[in-house]
Amino acid sequence: MATSPNKKNQAESGFVYLPLIAGWLVPGAGHFLLRKWGRGALLSLSILAMFSIGIAMQGKIYAGAHDILEILGMAGDLGNGLLYFVSRAAGWGADQVTITTGDYGTRFIVVAGLLNVIAAVDAHNLRTGRKV
């Protein structure tokens, strides 16, 4: 699809890492900044739903880094951006996984974070013109 020069200039002006950072902090926000409304809405819906289902299944939010597995889990959780910090502050999720669905929930939360990082990088690629 052809892009008008005016819209192209708007997308190319400003801080180049803004879509990346916004996309990390709020799922889909990087695409919204670039006026990719449909893509942003689908990404936002998918990642928010995955995170919410993980919380509803009593998944664990990694808070400490005592061993390598916890460090990896926390790195995945941090990919959720503001959702991670809000959930930590609000005390969402379980401290200890005691049921099978809780273990699934923990994986949902971690994968939601990893998918959010992929989405944020995609927004950055759109911003730099590496992807159209």
Partner: protein, 59 residues
């Protein structure tokens, strides 16, 4: 608290992951849709095949 069975959890996981993969790994909407569908079928198909493999190993 939400209680999902194994298959429902797999289908939801596959659905959301496939949407993100489709949008981020392809350039045009038709190709995004096809790639997302491809990922979804692979996710769910692999689970069904591996589940039967584990069933036959266990029995």
């Amino acid at each position: 608290m939400l209680h999902l069975d194994h298959f429902a959890a797999v289908v939801l996981f596959a659905l959301f992951a496939s949407v993100v993969f489709g949008i981020t790994q392809r350039d045009t909407p038709p190709r995004m849709f096809r790639y997302g569908l491809y990922c979804f079928v692979l996710f769910v198909g692999a689970v069904i095949v591996l589940s039967w493999v584990m069933h036959f190993i266990a029995h």
